[in-house]
């Protein structure tokens, strides 16, 4: 059970749905320790991704991921735009023109996406950013390359979920929340939460 172009496009649509459902929650999280735009920005971006795949019909998983990347970069803005944009771009590059993605490839894709985020944003684990959700997800995926892609994605999503929850007590050292210093502790990081939601959407949209 590998991952086809249709699967990727369907996952992108689920991303848009999940983000739209959680728009207000992400805005509220960002209002607490940031500037209250994370949900709005991602929602605008993923709505545009849906329009883009509707009108372009990508022919490979890589093309779909690349379309998502360029759309997010040009529609989201803020910190999350270039970060998620880079993640999808690196993912697309890693995939190349493969017609289907198997589990080891998906694990590689996730690692590349995370490396892209780190290369752009220079955040380390524990800085209270989306990296704190991405990193455990990548590790979980890398130890699940023997199972079907769906299982791997579920494992990654679960790990992301735990990683996101673990950002609550942290003091932010990157992004806008870092201005708060100690006052940033006690809040869930909006970017970690959106990463959790997006990986959940890729895993099946159950959350």
């Amino acid at each position: 059970m590998a991952c086809t172009t249709e699967d990727v496009v369907a996952a992108l649509r689920r991303c848009a749905e999940v983000i739209s459902e959680h728009r207000d929650e992400l805005v509220e999280l960002d209002r607490e320790i940031g500037d209250a735009d994370h949900g709005e920005n991602l929602n605008r971006g993923f709505a545009a991704v849906v329009s883009a795949v509707d009108s372009t019909m990508p022919e490979t998983p890589g093309a779909a991921l690349k379309l998502a990347a360029t759309t997010l970069i040009s529609k989201v803005g803020g910190a999350a735009g270039p970060l998620y944009g880079t993640a999808f771009l690196r993912a697309a590059t890693t995939v190349g023109d493969a017609a289907e993605l198997d589990a080891p490839m998906v694990a590689k894709v996730l690692r590349a996406a995370m490396d892209g985020v780190v290369a752009r944003g220079k955040a380390e684990q524990g800085d209270k950013t989306m990296v704190d959700a991405l990193h455990p997800a990548v590790l979980a995926a890398e130890s699940a390359t023997e199972v079907p892609v769906g299982e791997l994605l579920k494992a990654a999503a679960t790990a992301a979920s735990e990683g996101a929850a673990a950002t609550v007590p942290l003091v932010a050292r990157k992004g806008r929340a870092s201005y708060l210093g100690e006052r940033s502790a006690g809040h869930l990081d909006p970017g970690a939460r959106s990463t959790e939601l997006l990986l959940g959407a890729f895993a099946g949209g159950q959350r």
């Binding site: 805005v27 209002r31 940031g34 500037d35 209250a36 735009d37 709005e40 920005n41 605008r44 970069i73 040009s74 529609k75 989201v76 803005g77 803020g78 910190a79 999350a80 735009g81 270039p82 970060l83 944009g85 752009r120 944003g121 003091v171 050292r173 990157k174 992004g175 806008r176 870092s178 201005y179 708060l180 210093g181 006052r183």
Partner: protein, 333 residues
Amino acid sequence: MKKIINDPATVVAEALHGLAVAHPERLRVTTDPAVIVRTDAPVAGKVAVISGGGSGHEPLHGGFVGSGMLDAACPGAVFTSPTPDQVQAAVTATDAGAGALLLVKNYTGDVLNFETAAELAEATGTPVRSVLIDDDVAVADSTFTAGRRGVGGTLLLEKIVGAAAERGTDLDGCARLAASVVAGVRSMGVALTAPTVPHVGEPSFTLGADEMEIGIGIHGEPGRARVPLEDADRLVARLVDAIVSDLPFVAGDRVILFTNSMGGTPLLELYLAHGIAERLLAERGIEVARRLVGPYVTSLEMQGMSLTLLRADDQLLDLWDAPVCTPALRWGM
């Protein structure tokens, strides 16, 4: 939420339309991607000076597009940095062969989006330089933060670099000048109330009736400390102390003093605060050579103010005095 708008999703686009029809002789606005460009761009032989950032800080940046200041501005969504294609489009619209200087406020989002745009523009052959402005002394500049924010000093940077570019200074010269302005400018602000972002619909933060937030950012990001409301003398002294001791500014320094309203603070209070700031600086032997007072770098309807000090030699003062003709800042022409 009480606002004169139709739909939160179209506020920026509709405001840009209004800006365009209000100033047809000075600027034009393109949509998708949204860019505000001076009408006579590209200006032959001139370095293009470009800035941008989230909307909601008006007149920054679009109000400073015009002769002697910015060639183009890229307005993002409210409080959200613009995207790389906006910046790229701005470069394309203003590139006259002498390259483009991007003046970027130091926020993660702005830095990343402008960085991406610079890479893309360089790839098309336009020489691009970026300068980060991070004048907000409220934020500790350490590895534990995203670094200091760019706030009120941005206006002084845009004016001075814009004047140099207008006079024909080349890209390297403009970038060096920008770096020297950044090195000598410091700001700090205070908020009495919170702004309400249209797409959020409720205030960005909650301040008690007797509280103020010292060291506020221009997106309503919290600052250094939340303290009980105090009188203007004490409040302005706080800002002056923090700014002066940071650079530090010392007796004998000549400065440009910029007393800025965050939007909701009326001129009556702003001039009152300005008078106090001038007195406190005089007491320290710091000479205010030029001043600007008004709501220029705002945070929607937020009540509050900021002070910005720039150490200025004759060259900077001369560039400050140079003619400028933009919607929000105009003299000498």
